[in-house]
Symmetry: C2
Subunit: 185 residues, 2 copies
């Protein structure tokens, strides 16, 4: 699939089929995450591939009752959880090197978007789930001290892709040379 | 270009030619950023397209003297700066909704990686620059209170793509069901 097609057509999928994901496709998708750039190539992420139905059910319980992705944890054959070490990316000699603090969120997002796009090109859905009880998820996944579960995504086949969510037009989000100077007049 | 080709072949480029970037290609690349998903579709990012040579020179000065991307700010015809509003992505009713704080870094990374991949498919280089004096960059770019410059990237043509940086093998970064359980035995 063309890169720009994947970027344009990718949707956040919250309704999955139980159909299994072939192992070789799963490895291609995870390899796309692995190839993501990161702060000073620190690669602070680890990916927990959850296939165990009981663990998926427990993770689903870390989402709020109203979260539309809740059932996806049970239906999709796989949930991928991104764990990241804190205090390393964006740090220099143990000190935060920028006024933006820890870069674990930035680096994990780079990798998880590679994963989401790669999944899409194989006809598989994902959705970046961030709103969950992190402390509980870390317990369930036995994540060591100093690491966080940044985000999770179900991974699986789906019937119909959801409609596109609206985005702000370029006029509203582009500036020229300084903030606030419209790029497109 | 195939999505997986772009993901596999993309490199962080730090040496640029001054050759101008056609406006229609620039717009395609920025549109790829615009289409990125974000926390509750908050789209907290804005993209400042810096073409002014004086501003690029000032931004270059916010990098450390040893940063290999420093000259790129002068050579590349464009520097794109990602500004993001703080306290919105990852928040619910004004409170951080997760134990990972503000999601502005996560969302900006998703958008900037769309941009980097789209640039690559047009034969253009980028590099995520995070290590710079953010306070100075925010002054130069006249970024309002409550916003940060998260990252910047030169954008331009280049002669030879750099060699691939090594990545940890999948064996080291994949776990099954819980943290620490090797996925690949």
């Amino acid at each position: 699939m063309e890169l720009l097609t994947a970027i344009r057509e990718r949707r956040s999928v919250r309704k999955y089929k139980s159909k299994p994901v072939p192992e070789e496709i799963l490895m291609e998708i995870l390899d796309a995450a692995r190839l993501a750039p990161s702060w000073n190539n620190t690669q602070v992420w680890r990916f927990i591939v959850v296939k165990d139905q009981g663990t998926k059910a427990k993770l689903s319980e870390t989402l709020r009752p109203t979260n539309p992705a809740k059932a996806a944890y049970l239906d999709a054959p796989i949930v991928i959880c991104a764990a990241a070490q804190r205090g390393l990316s964006g740090f220099y000699k143990g000190e935060a090197a920028t006024n933006r603090g820890d870069w674990f969120m930035f680096d994990t997002a780079l990798a998880m978007e590679h994963l989401a796009l790669a999944a899409w090109q194989f006809g598989l859905g994902t959705v970046h789930v961030g709103l969950f009880d992190g402390t509980k998820a870390e317990e369930i996944l036995k994540v060591p001290e100093g690491y966080s579960i940044v985000s999770m995504t179900p991974l699986g086949y789906f019937d119909t892709p959801p409609d596109a969510k609206p985005r702000k037009p370029l006029q509203e989000i582009l500036y020229l040379n300084t903030y606030g100077e419209s790029y497109i007049k």
